[in-house]
Structures are given as C-alpha cells and as structure tokens.
Amino acid sequence: MATLTRPTVVDFPPPALADKALVQKMLDGDQGAFDDFCEEHFSRLYRFSLTRLDRDPDLALEVTQATIVKAIESLENYRGEAPLSAWLYTICRYEISAYYRKKKRTPAMRSVEDLPDVDAALSSLSLELANPEDELSQKELTERVHAALDRLPTHYGNALEWKYFEGLSVVEIAARMKTGPKAVESLLTRARNAFRDGFTILATAR
C-alpha cells in the first residue's frame, strides 16, 4: 500500500516565486537574469524534446529553439503559479504536437511524464517503492531517472550526477559550485530527497 508523506524540506523562496522574480528581471533587461535562464533551461528542454522526438537531435534542437523563442515572446504571460520549467514544458509539448500534426504522424512513444496525474504529482508527493529496477526495463529506467533529474533545479541534478556518476567528493563538488562542503552536503540531502520523490512517482506511473 502506498504511503503519502509531505516533503520535510521547504526551499525559500518557493521556486515559483523565484521564477517570477527572474522573469521580471528578464523583462527589465537584466543580462544576469537572462544568462541564468539560459543556463537553467536550455539543456533540460533539449532533453525533454529528445525523449519525445525519437531521439532525433536535429529535430529536438529545432523544437527547443522554437519553444525558447515562443516562451520569451510571451514572458509577460507567466504568472508564477507553477515553476517556470513546468510552463516551458507546456509550450514545448505544444511545439512537439504541432510538429507531429504537420507531419501527420503520431509519436512512437508517449512519455510517462506527460500523463496528467504524473505531471501534477511530481512537485510534492512521496511514495514508498522497493526495487524499481525489477519492474522497469533499462530503457524505461534511464528515461525516468533522467526525467526525475531534469525536474529538479539544475544545481540539484548536477550535484547528484557529479557525486554518483562522476564520483566527485563533497570537497570537489564544493569547488565546482564555489561554495563550502557543508552547503554541498545539505544540498545533496535535499537533492536526494527530491530526486527520490520524483522518481518514485514516475516509476509507479503506467
């Protein structure tokens, strides 16, 4: 039986408010805010597109570019009620659907992330799950791990990959992030919790 628990760590300010402030700064012409926007969202949008476009990198790049341009052109429409990434993913889904309509094709595979319940649940719930590898194929596992990482703030996802894939120490990660080891330990704890919550939602969705 699934157990629902509330997350025990709250980031301040809430992510959507920080995103709203970022968007406002971009509209005011703040170069730093624009740079942060590019750094935070380019890669994840590209991967989001890649998963849904048969892993065609050229096509994914076209769709990503169209998404970013459309998003910037309608920045004032972002109300900050959901994270900026969620708003961008919505625009991206539209661009992908438009591509398939134009080509009169249907997508080969529907991403589990796009199930309405999953999309809504990814932000806050936590479920207990044992041995997800037993239930998922390697491809499904890879897709869901990557999707869960991409749902996190960029520095969370990067820190987890640096620690568990590249094998960096806390000190080495702290040097990359230009911060202290204690801050990195605290960040890794939050990142692991958030990743685990997100992954279990994706892993249990069908």
């Binding site: 509209l27 005011d28 590019c38 380019f42 890669s43 341009v69 590898e133 791990v145 992954f199």
Partner: protein
C-alpha cells in the same frame, strides 16, 4: 536520509548513466536565437512602460494645472538602459563586446565571459581542446578570427589578441572596410608580435617555433625589445626558432623565410573552422566567391557572361557535411556548368 536510501539513489543514477548533453554548437545556436528574441521583447516592454508613464504624466500634469496651489513638482524619470534607437544591452564589459562568437565545434571553454554568452569582452579568454575550433567576429576591425584545436587566445583590446598556444587565422577580406584605413590588428605571442597590414594570415605557436603564414595582404613580425622587424607578403611563411631564442641567441638571426602555397591541405583547418555557409537563397556567384576565399583559390570565369549568369542562379538546399571539392562538384554540376581546379585556380566554364 539513511545509507540504504542513499544507496538507492546512487544505484539508480549509476545504472541510468549520464544525461545527454547539449553540444556547444547547439547551445550557441539556441543562445543566439534566444538573445535576439529577448532583445526584441525588452524593447517592446520598455516602449509599453514609457507609454504608460507618459499616460500617467499627462494625467498628473493636467491635475496639477487645475490646482490653485503653488507647490513645486518634482518629476523623476528612471534612466533607460538603452538608447532611443534600441541598442541591445551590452556584454559584461562597460566597453562593450570586442568579439562575437560566430560558430563553435567540439571542446571549448571561456573565461571572463557571461555564462552561456556569445559576446566576448576585453580580457576574455577562449580555449579549444582536441577537435575544438571556433570562429569570432572582431567588431572594431570588422574581421574574422578563427582558432584551431588545442589553442588558447586572450582578447587584450578591440584590436589586439594574445595567442598563448596553438594557432589562429585572421581574415579581414570577408567584409572590407570602406573609407578610412582599417586600424591595424596585432597578435601578441611570447616570441613577437604579428601586425596585419592586409587581410588573411595564420599565426601558429609550435613546440619550438613561431610560424606566420600569409595568404593575402602582408604581416609584420616585430621581435621583442626592438630586436628586428620582418615583413611577410602573400605566399610567404616566416618561422622563428624559439628554442634558439630561449637559449639567449639573437632572435633576428633565427627568422627563416619560405615560399608557401596559399591553398591546399595546410589551410584545411581554416575552412573547417569557418562559420557554415548557408546556400539556401544565395547565388552561385556568392557561393563560389565564398568558397574560393576560404580555400585560397583564385576564381575566374571563362567568359564575363558566365560571371553574370552565376550572379543570377539562386541556390537551394544545404552543403553541410561536404568538403570544398564535393561542394563545388555538386553545386556547379547542379547549375548546368562545369569547372576545373588546377594549381589553386578555379575556372568556371
């Protein structure tokens, strides 16, 4: 989180492998598109804000004018970041960008550049790794600079760069400046300064030599401490034996001069590092002019009428992934013309 739960996360991430990364050239493309859209957006946003402020000002002024009181009105207008013509916000330097990144391939890194930025200010450094190449547009000089793999370059000022390792290629022929003579451009190296007095040349730092090759125009090599100046014109290579200079020998005695071809395999990296030429909608004449300049070929038409015809043939499609010879083969044949390439001369007939 206890160790078991951390092990879960470690196992999942390791088993899934790394996430696909966005290649540098793709990131650059997105950045350029995003920056254009953002500049337009900010301009529109500011125009709207100015309109709203003017509207409030008119209403406020009307209200004041109707008042009988002699109160003083203090109006503070917020300064705008941009000029009325709508210049975009500059890069991180107060002096503005020295160079703009036109294209990039493979491994690249920057220092002193805004994150993800495509404009490079004074003091910025660009490094390429194995297989990495880059092309920059130099604003002040209105010329192009290309960096070969395993190279490192620092932008000292709008008309000076320092080559710390590897090789660069300078090309001022793409868009010749009109009117006043162009400001001289110089490349600083540990062994001397190369100063351009014309259009296309390569500077390369080898293990025990500084080599300058001139394709078009001329370059002056100035040795440090006034120890001599050497000029190289088109088709000439200067090589300074830096091992001898490092031993304390007179550098002027260790500059060798040789004749070189201005086309061929030694210049291949220059073409490979060039920003891609999109043929869609361009004329055959433009394509042949671009290809000849990039390959070091001399272009000639069998008759003047053929040159006029080349200016009227519009091309469609793409030559991405083709070598220079493959591209001219496909394009010229597709235009119902023929060509021959002999000794660096491309003749269309």
């Amino acid at each position: 989180m206890n160790e078991t739960r951390e092990d879960d996360v470690r196992r999942l991430i390791q088993r899934a492998g790394p996430r696909p990364t966005l290649p540098p050239a793709a990131r650059l493309r997105l950045r350029v598109a995003a920056e254009e859209a953002w500049h337009r957006k900010v301009q529109n946003h500011r125009r709207q804000q100015r309109r709203q402020r003017r509207g409030r000002l008119v209403r406020w002024s009307a209200a004041v004018a109707t008042l009988a009181a002699a109160a003083m009105l203090l109006l503070v207008l917020r300064p705008t970041l941009w000029s009325p013509q709508g210049d975009p916000p500059g890069a991180s330097s107060v002096l503005g960008p020295v160079a703009t990144l036109l294209s990039a391939q493979g491994a690249l890194s920057f220092e002193g550049v805004p994150r993800g930025g495509a404009t490079l200010p004074t003091g910025a450094t660009l490094s390429t790794g194995e297989g990495g190449r880059a092309a920059l547009w130099l604003e002040a000089r209105q010329a192009e600079l290309r960096l070969d793999q395993n190279s490192r370059l620092r932008l000292v000022s709008p008309d000076t760069v320092e080559l710390e390792r590897g090789a660069l290629y300078f090309d001022a022929s793409a868009r010749p400046l009109e009117g006043e003579p162009a400001p001289a451009f110089q490349v600083l190296t540990p062994w001397g300064t190369a100063r351009d007095i014309g259009t296309q040349f390569e500077v390369r730092l080898q293990e025990e030599a500084l080599r300058i090759r001139v394709r078009e125009g001329a370059v002056l090599l100035e040795l440090p401490r006034g120890e001599g100046t050497h000029r190289a014109d088109a088709g000439v290579e200067l090589t300074l034996d830096t091992a001898s200079v490092a031993r304390g020998d007179d550098p002027d005695a260790f500059v060798q001069r040789a004749a070189i071809a201005t086309h061929g395999p030694a210049w291949q990296w220059v073409l490979e590092a060039a920003p891609p030429f999109e043929i869609e909608g361009r004329t055959l004449g433009e394509f042949l002019g671009w290809l000849s300049r990039e390959s070091g070929w001399r272009l000639q038409y069998d008759t003047p009428a053929l040159g006029e015809r080349a200016a009227e043939i519009i091309l469609h499609g793409s030559i991405a992934g083709l070598s220079a010879e493959e591209a001219v083969d496909v394009i010229v044949a597709g235009s119902a013309l023929s060509y021959r390439l002999e000794e660096g001369v491309l003749t269309i007939y």
